[in-house]
Every structure is written in C-alpha cells, then in structure tokens.
C-alpha cells in the first residue's frame, strides 16, 4: 500500500526527464509542474476542470492537471506541451495561427496530439468531441480548426491510414 503524508520527496517523470519534487498529498499536478518542476506550459485557467488550459498527457491520456493530484503521477509518464517541440501539431498551430493570446494553446495542442495519436482518421464529430474539452476565450476557433486539420493531413500523409 502506498501511504503519503506531510511533505515527501519524490520524482516525477516529465517529458522524458526525472524531476525531483517535494509533494504534499493535496497538491495538484498543475501546481507541482509549474511551481516545482518549472514547467510553465500547462496553464492555470479556471482550476476547476472547465477550460482545459492545464491539459497534459498522463501515460498518453489527456487529463486536466488542475484536477489530478500530483501524487497520482508518481511512477507515470507526464508529457506537457514542452515535450511536443517540433511535433506536427505544434508546427501546424504555428503555421495556421491556431492561437490568439496563446493562453489556451498548450491545452489545445495536447488534446490534438493525443487525438491524432489515437485516432489519426478522426472525423469532424470526433474532433469536436475531443476539442470541446478546451475553451479559447479569444474565440480563435477557426485558426485552431485549421491547425488541427493541417496536422491531421500531414500525419495521415506520413502514416497513411489502412483502408
């Protein structure tokens, strides 16, 4: 049985690196990533699970890191937007202007990446379903939609879907 109380030293596996942190059981993964690991990609927006700006991948699955306790990430692989440097999704968001103020961008990129990893042939309904987890308060959805479609096109061309 795992028991954690008070402050405890631990390692988080983030973007392929071991990050030493000191955890309290009640701390969110978002806070620990930003305030201890110095990883500023995930953003604190609503901190209530509504906006998706804090989305990271936990064992490849998108989660809202404001609603995940950091202790739950011990021994698991965490990927943040910093870990997606030079990915097709990042390039597509850059090229298509898939952002305005940029605060929500990391969350959208993480979800788009996870979507296209698991469902490269996703149709519009699936894309809407996945990305409705994220809010853009600038309402820059058109650029985001174009970026997602471009990334999908390139990923499909690199790894053609079997018919």
């Amino acid at each position: 049985m795992i028991v954690i109380h008070g402050l405890s030293e631990s390692l988080l596996h983030v973007n392929g690196e071991e990050c030493p942190v000191v955890l309290r059981p009640g701390e969110s993964l978002l806070r620990v990533l930003r305030e201890q690991a110095g990883i500023m990609g995930p953003k604190g927006g609503c901190e209530n699970g509504d906006c998706g700006a804090c989305t990271v991948l936990l064992e490849g699955v998108p989660v809202k890191s404001c609603l995940v306790l950091a202790v739950e990430a011990i021994g698991k692989k965490v990927i943040t937007v910093e870990g997606l440097k030079d990915s097709e999704v990042q390039k597509a968001f850059h090229e298509m202007g898939g952002f305005q103020c940029g605060y929500c961008t990391a969350g959208f990129i993480m979800n788009t990446y996870a979507l296209l990893e698991t469902r490269p042939d996703a149709d519009e309904n699936e894309k809407n379903d996945w990305l409705s987890s994220n809010l853009c308060r600038c309402t820059g959805y058109e650029g985001i939609q174009k970026a997602v479609n471009l990334a999908q096109e390139r990923i499909q061309n690199n790894h053609p879907v079997r018919k």
Partner: protein, 271 residues
Amino acid sequence: MIITADLVYYKPESVEELIQCVTALSDKGVRFTYYSGGTEIVSALRQNKLQTDALVDIKGVQALTDITETNDEWVIGAAVPLNQIIDQMPDSLLAKVCGKIADRTIRNVLTIGGNLCGRLPYREAVLPLIGMDVEVVVLREGQLIRKKLSEIFDKRMLLTNNALLYQIILPKRAFKWNFHRRFTESIGVDYPTVHMVAMATENQVTIGLSGFASFPVYKMMPIDEFNSIKHSLEALVDGLIHQAKTDERCSAEYRVHLLKTALTEWLEVVS
C-alpha cells in the same frame, strides 16, 4: 486557489489492503474519503467544501478498475472511467449516456462510481441503470454484498458505515427500444437542464430524468399501461411535472416544455 487541507493519501493495491486500510482508519476515528477520478473531490477540497483527513485512492484495486464480460453480463468496477465504458462497451445504452457527461478529457478520469456517488445532483449514469434493474456490489464492513441498485438508490446512493460502491453488474438485456435526449442551457458541455433516458424491456417502460428535478427521478410503468397512455403527453408526464425545479439555468415551466419535447421525439421513434 490551492488545497490547504493537510491530508494523508492511501493507495491500497488489493481488496484485502483496502479493507485493512478502511478498518484501521474507521477504528481510529479518522475522517476519510474514497478517491478515484478526483474531478469532484479536488474541486471540493480546493473550495473547502469537503472536510476530510485522508483520501483512500481505490484505483490500485484491479476489480475496481476493470470491465469484465461474461455471456450474460458486464461487471464494471466503480473506478472505471467513463471513457473506458464508452470504448469497451460502445453499443450499450450506458456508453451512450456516459458519452454526454462532462467533456472528453474529464471523462478520461471521471469514474462511474464517482458519477453515481458524488455530491453533484445530476448522477446521469444512473438513468439507464435503474430501468435495466442492475445489481451492484457494495463493500461494507469487509464484506462484498450484491444487491439491486434500486434498493440503495433513492435520489442518491444510500451508502452507510463507510460502505463503498464496488462494482456494477449490467445484464446484457435486449431492449424493445431505448431513447435518450439531453438538453443544456447553451453549449453541449454543461450540466443538463433535462436529460431523459427512456427504455422498454419486455414488461416495463422506464423514463429517467436528470437535471429536471433536484435529483434523478423516474417513472416506471407496465408496458400495457404505457401502450394505453402513449398518445397523451399529459398522462405520460403525470407524476413528474410537479418535481420540475427552477434554478439559474431555467424555469420549471421550461423544463416541463423540454420534457414534453423529448417525449414527443421519443414517441415518434417508438411509433
């Protein structure tokens, strides 16, 4: 806002450890909360709406995180996330209802047990379960007890003495028909103003509603009775409309209108 509570986190890795942990905490008088997806608990802790000394994370117990299948039934662990149900049981009515709850990223962690047992009044996952007359397994005082969900669900889960919803046993029962319709105030990702699930088995028709009243409500009737009143919306909503609530989302009158709209759509499908 950070979580200021000074908590102890326990993660048992077998049912035996879980029982041992809970028994020890109970004996010491420690206030504890079962923890799984965390979507509601973390928010509640952050807002100081939950007073607890310890979290017992149940995701280390395999029987709670697996979906297993036999010829006759599905056994769903209470700590199974909604997306796992959607992926593993895509044709089930339960999966279709779960697919409307929260958003996709949240559903990666939001569990069926959390949806049924949480404080939020919607508990939408229960809508198809009562009509299917499912059984559940409850862990109470070290014993696994199987009973009908309808016996321990009345507005909310009635779990006492630190009992834990352990598994949901879903029969592979054919419906004559089923239907679900969910309305929200504006965008799709929101709590429901009315979520109606209607289904008919060989003998019974069930209409379940979430968001309509302050808790999930049901109307059950023998199929012969349904056939005799199905042309009258007023007869179908009788017994339900007085429970409609008014809140900041919409009025009771509007909820009744939405209910009648859903019923009309359903009856068109049925006919």
